[in-house]
């Protein structure tokens, strides 16, 4: 009884002291500690080692685009057991320059830039993405608003045309069509508005700032899906060419090329890989070869004698 009373008293005293200490040292409201938003950049655990630098081109909203590629880069870093850095160029020519100056080891390139990279720099095309809807190719297209009076290419005379420099859909294809329609030598030739991305070219047409636009068809379809109220009419559409493929620098070791290709081609096999691909906007990657770019060379051949007028700051690429 005596011990029980002693234990009871000691426990009560301990509880009281504990309560007072707890009250005295009560932590501050967690809401007070503002948590800095975690940047998407560097969110994944990147292993140490020499970084693999991958160039990307400004095809759409550069902020959204970087997030998409970042998901892919993080997964690749895990697969390759080395850091993967993204290098976003302000222009399509810039990616070529980066490849030439070894600022990047590989790059996701549009079909025209890919052909030029293979031709000028000896790059090797490894893989191309397969979209969620199954597409692996795209086409160049010239379009107008649905309410536009323009019905034919020839009617672009004296009108403004939004284009995207150094791209097949936004530059080479529309120029070929303009040459073929005889609109380039006329004093009433269309006024060319050079946009930075396909999305911006489309936006120029939607907003009425440009009478017509030239861009890749899959971006056009994507915007039409996102904005059902937007009605656009295609004036003409070119042949299919591979979607933005990964080209690697010629100096990259064959082993690393194989590792990189394998990592991308098998990415859809793992849950983490599928999640990364989903964020990237693709179902999987497929092998890609330069032979699949025949449609690009066809267009190049169509304007070979007037290549300089394209202002692409490079000689016309040749078939291999």
């Amino acid at each position: 009884m005596k011990y029980a009373r002693l234990i009871l008293m000691t426990s009560t005293l301990g509880l009281l002291v504990g309560l007072l200490v707890w009250l005295g040292r009560m932590p501050a409201d967690p809401k007070l500690s503002p948590v800095r938003p975690k940047s998407a950049i560097g969110a994944a655990t990147i292993p140490a080692g020499q970084a693999l630098r991958i160039g990307i081109i400004p095809e759409r909203d550069i902020f959204e685009q970087r997030k998409r590629y970042l998901a892919l880069a993080d997964e690749l870093a895990v697969e390759l057991d080395r850091p993967v850095e993204l290098v976003t160029c302000s222009s399509y020519q810039g990616v070529l320059q980066d490849l030439a100056e070894k600022h990047v080891d590989a790059a996701f390139l549009g079909s025209l830039v890919a052909v030029m990279a293979v031709d000028r720099l000896g790059c090797r095309i490894l893989v191309k993405p397969q979209g969620v809807d199954g597409h692996t190719t795209y086409r160049g297209t010239i379009f107008v608003r649905d309410d536009s009076p323009i019905r034919r290419i020839e009617e672009l005379s004296g009108r403004s045309l939004a284009m995207v420099r150094t791209t097949l859909g936004g530059h080479l294809y529309p120029m070929v069509r303009l040459f073929q329609a005889g609109l380039t030598d006329s004093p009433q030739s269309p006024r060319l508005v050079w946009c930075g991305t396909h999305d911006e070219a489309i936006e120029q047409v939607i907003s009425g700032k440009a009478d017509a636009g030239a861009a890749k068809d899959i971006r056009l379809e994507a915007i039409e899906r996102q904005h059902p109220g937007v009605k656009l009419r295609r004036l003409c559409t070119g042949s299919a060419v591979p979607e933005n493929a990964l080209a690697v620098d010629a100096s990259m070791s064959r082993q690393l090329q194989d590792q990189l290709g394998k990592a991308l081609l098998t990415m859809h096999d793992s849950p983490a890989g599928r999640a990364a691909l989903e964020r990237f906007g693709a179902a999987r990657f497929q092998p890609c070869r330069i032979e699949e770019y025949d449609a690009v060379f066809d267009l190049v051949d169509a304007v070979r004698d007037r290549w300089q007028r394209l202002n692409l700051d490079a000689p016309a690429p040749n078939r291999r």
Binding site: R36, C89, S90
Partner: protein
Amino acid sequence: MLRRKLMLNLLPLLAMLVVTAAAAIWLLQGVLRELTQIDQQAWSVVERVNELSITVNSIEVDLYEIHVGRERHLDRLIQAVDQLRGLMDEMPRYEIIHQPRAWSVYESMRDRMPRFEADVAGLATAQDRGLIREHTESALANAVALRNDTLPLSRFVRDHAHGEQQSLSSWFRWLVLGLTLAFVLSINVSVMVLLRMAGMVLRPVDRLVAAARELGNERFDHRVRVEQHDEFDQLAAAYNRMAEQLEVSEQRKVEVLGQVALAMNHELNNAMATIEMQLQLLGRHAGDPENLARRLRQIRQSLQRMSEAVDSLKQARRVVLTDYIEGVKMLDLRRSMEPVGV
């Protein structure tokens, strides 16, 4: 029972003191927490606003470098815009931003962001002079507006924090005053409770001590009255029982003494009457009348003393002893006749 009573008084007192102390700590800590919150929020918001302004500057510098050809990569620019967006998204986490004046400024800044981002994105990649000019003008206008908005926001946050701190200081002064009063009240209540508890012990003890003194003075009829229903009550009852028993015992002794006296009275008086009668007869027939008369007078005196002693025994009210010889007590007849308390 007494322990229970003491505990019943002590525990509420202890609980009151603990609750008062806990409430005081809680309230003071609340004030400190609010002060810290205001301080942290104000500094954090001002810091974020400054970061926002610096980020806008950085974006402008990046755009300039891209367009003069010093930089062809957009990563730093993208990160800066991401950071800007993150800062804007972070702002509503601070309660201070939800104040009407701050919120209107914040909404204005937030509404500018999509256009600013679109202009920055367009400007970063545009290659057409007209587009560049258009994006530049729009982006610069938005950047200037964003930076301009940061100034009143910072000023408001500082003013608001200052006002809140003043209000809190005033509340703190009242709180200290209130707590002081509460503690003074607690101390007073504690003293009163402790005095009551002391009274619970001292009052019956005093009565018992006084009763013991009465018992020492052989006042066996004295009784203690304690109505506390505790150990003291039991002690008083025990004392009263003991006094009662002593009183009964004393009374019985006196009664026995009276009975002894009666017996002696009966036996001695008869004997003495006989002796007296015989002495009277002897006196009438004595030869030496003078000597005989003297002797007879002495016998009568002795008989008189015996008679008085028996009378004393009959009148005894209590038993009072006195030393007869060393180690032997005898009844003090004179004092036994005196009333109690003399």
